[in-house]
């Protein structure tokens, strides 16, 4: 049964949540927002635009330890899988959808046990977007501005109070643990439908084309001039990979402790935009040019993942556009791809 939480009751809600979980929530930092472990409910900013890194990185952290080794005894290897109970609080629908996509990718056999263990001990509490959070977003074009699943609880601001959808047994337990919350009544539900209905008018499309055709259009444009134009701009810094909520490529690295006896093997984020990503030891580089790499990033999300899982691997959060110092924009690329066909190239 869904409940409502009054604005002035939200601190009590978060405090209670903290008694059971490490609460990871949007907090303000240097004029922007990040998902961070909070020590006090007052730190939380429910009304944030977008965070620097997506919340999924708390389930898929950089330099995640995979195993510990002993240099004196090569056969001695200790597996490490961490599973702290954590709650991701106020996750926007795009990021909820991104976690759903990551779940699908990393649970596919042979599955990624390290990710799954963390995922199973993570509670996700969503936060409805009733309008665009910033410029440079494509979530509305992709219908990823709404999350239908992948959360335990889901908050919608309906004025003076939040409507909280209870979507899982874990969510129900949390609501029972907090206690004293009002059941959502008829007027709350009416208000929920009203604000959701108004949402449609606030979002506007960024792409001038039928998104269902995008995958096909891109395949047609595989050898197009577009990629060479992007190449001239791209600095191959990999920022787009790092901020992407569905980028999961990684390297495996060993680091030896200063005692020179023990060490740890880590999974370190890697990026397909970096020059050496496909370079092998004998010197061949299988994706030499930035044009090939930019194209690969776009195709991976829109063609390859779409073919495997039936939906686009890009949730349209726009972080890659915001953080590209060379002003490469997926919106621009997609529009060019549609224009190209319209012009009959």
């Amino acid at each position: 049964m869904d409940v409502t939480v009054e604005y002035n009751d939200i601190d009590r809600f978060i405090l209670a949540l903290q008694s059971r979980y490490n609460v990871i929530a949007p907090v303000s930092k240097d004029g922007r927002f990040i998902f961070d472990l909070i020590d006090h409910p007052s730190k939380v900013s429910p009304k944030y635009d977008s965070t620097l890194l997506p919340p999924v990185k708390w389930i898929y952290p950089n330099d995640e330890a995979l195993l510990e080794f002993d240099l004196k005894d090569a056969a001695k290897i200790k597996e490490i899988t961490e599973s702290n109970k954590q709650a991701l609080l106020f996750v926007h629908p795009c990021d909820v959808n991104a976690i759903n996509i990551m779940d699908e990718i990393l649970a596919e056999e042979p599955s990624d046990v390290n990710y799954l263990k963390r995922r199973w001990s993570t509670v996700i509490i969503g936060y409805e977007c009733l309008g665009p959070c910033k410029e440079n977003i494509l979530c509305f074009d992709k219908s990823y501005h709404i999350a239908y699943s992948g959360f335990d609880l889901f908050f919608t601001d309906i004025g003076e109070r939040y409507y909280v959808q209870v979507a899982s047994s874990t969510g129900k337990e949390i609501i029972e643990m907090i206690g004293g919350l009002k059941k959502a009544g008829f007027s709350d539900k009416t208000e929920l439908f009203r604000v959701r209905d108004e949402r449609k008018m606030r979002f506007k499309k960024s792409i001038h084309g039928n998104m269902d055709m995008l995958s096909h259009m891109l395949k047609e444009a595989y050898n197009d001039e577009i990629w060479n134009i992007e190449e001239k701009k791209c600095l191959s810094c990999g920022a787009c990979n790092i901020v992407c909520p569905t980028c999961y490529c990684f390297d495996v690295v060993d680091e030896i402790c200063p005692d020179m006896e023990k060490g740890t093997r880590y999974r370190r984020w890697d990026g397909c935009q970096l020059h050496g990503f496909c370079k092998v030891a004998t010197g061949e580089n299988f994706r030499k040019t930035a044009a090939e790499r930019v194209r690969h990033r776009v195709f991976k999300k829109e063609v390859y993942l779409k073919k495997r899982f039936g939906r686009s691997g890009c949730v349209g959060c726009g972080r890659c556009i915001d953080h590209c110092i060379a002003n490469i924009s997926l919106i621009e690329i997609f529009n060019k791809v549609f224009d190209r066909v319209r012009e009959g190239v």
Binding site: L71, D112, C249, D251, G263, R265, F277, A281, F286, R287
Partner: protein, 272 residues
């Protein structure tokens, strides 16, 4: 258990193959057999150095309990491997990849084209076919290397060359006397072989630049695109279809490869 945990293994043999490559014989400490197919690979782990994917050079039909890896010292891990000796411990994950479709080639003529280090993975297939010789018809080997001293497994290659049941042709890019075999690129060997294109299955492994030229020769001979198999090698980290390095277009070579038919590979713009 996490898929990143290597199985402890011991080097039971280390042998110099050429001045650059060594052959490592490895047995798992749990006494189990690494059940592999020809052209599959394992990921070798050395604590403190890291991991790297290495093709298995031994056939599944040989003695069972050990695998052989032919390794050139070129990177961090392969360099560290070359510094190891017998009884040293390493870690093994795998085997990974689809391997060669051995069920599909029974009763066929087998044509193998191995350029340079390509003989390392193909040796598993050559020895497999040779051990089960009766199940196949003609067996043709084309082997190329840079110089005579670079030819891998020289004793075995000589044995195959002398075996009347195997039609072997060998070439090197450059050589001085007493070399009395062919000199020139591997495609130069195709003029010596006369094949029945409808009955022949080809397997190719070599440096990236070699594939296009060899495929063109095979197509000119009339071999069906689906009967030309390529073992494509890329950078790999996880072997689980996750880390992204071995991806060519939509597929992960560590899971859907490394062996692809030309019919499949030609649809992938990044494959060749």
């Amino acid at each position: 258990m996490s898929n990143f945990i290597p199985m402890p293994a011991t080097l039971v043999g280390v042998r110099q193959v050429t001045d650059k490559e060594k052959l490592f014989t490895i047995s798992l400490d749990n006494g189990k057999n690494i059940k592999h197919r020809p052209c599959q690979f394992v990921i070798v782990s050395i604590s403190g150095v890291g991991e790297a994917p290495i093709s298995i050079s031994s056939p599944p039909t040989d003695s069972g309990k050990v695998i052989e890896l032919c390794v050139r010292s070129v990177g961090n891990l392969t360099g560290a491997m070359h510094r190891l000796s017998v009884n040293d411990k390493i870690g093994i994950r795998g085997p990974f990849g689809n391997g060669f479709p051995i069920e599909k080639i029974e009763g066929r003529d087998i044509l193998i084209v191995a350029g340079g280090l390509g003989l390392a993975p193909l040796r598993s297939l050559i020895k497999y076919v040779n051990n089960e010789r009766k199940r196949y018809r003609r067996f043709i080997l084309l082997i190329g290397a840079k110089r005579p001293a670079d030819i891998l497994f020289k004793e075995e290659v000589t044995k195959w060359d002398e075996d009347p049941g195997i039609e072997t042709h060998i070439t090197v890019d450059a050589a001085e006397p007493p070399w009395n075999k062919n000199v020139g690129v591997i495609t130069g060997l195709f003029k010596y072989i006369d094949i029945d294109p409808l009955k022949t299955v080809a397997a190719i492994v070599g440096p990236p630049v070699m594939y296009r030229f060899v495929i063109r020769e095979l197509l000119a001979k009339g071999i069906f695109e689906g009967n030309i198999f390529l073992d494509l090698e890329r950078r790999m980290r996880c072997g689980l279809g996750k880390c992204g390095h071995c991806q060519i277009n939509g597929i992960y070579l560590c899971q859907n490869g490394p062996v692809l038919s030309y019919l499949e590979a030609k649809k992938l713009q990044e494959a060749l």
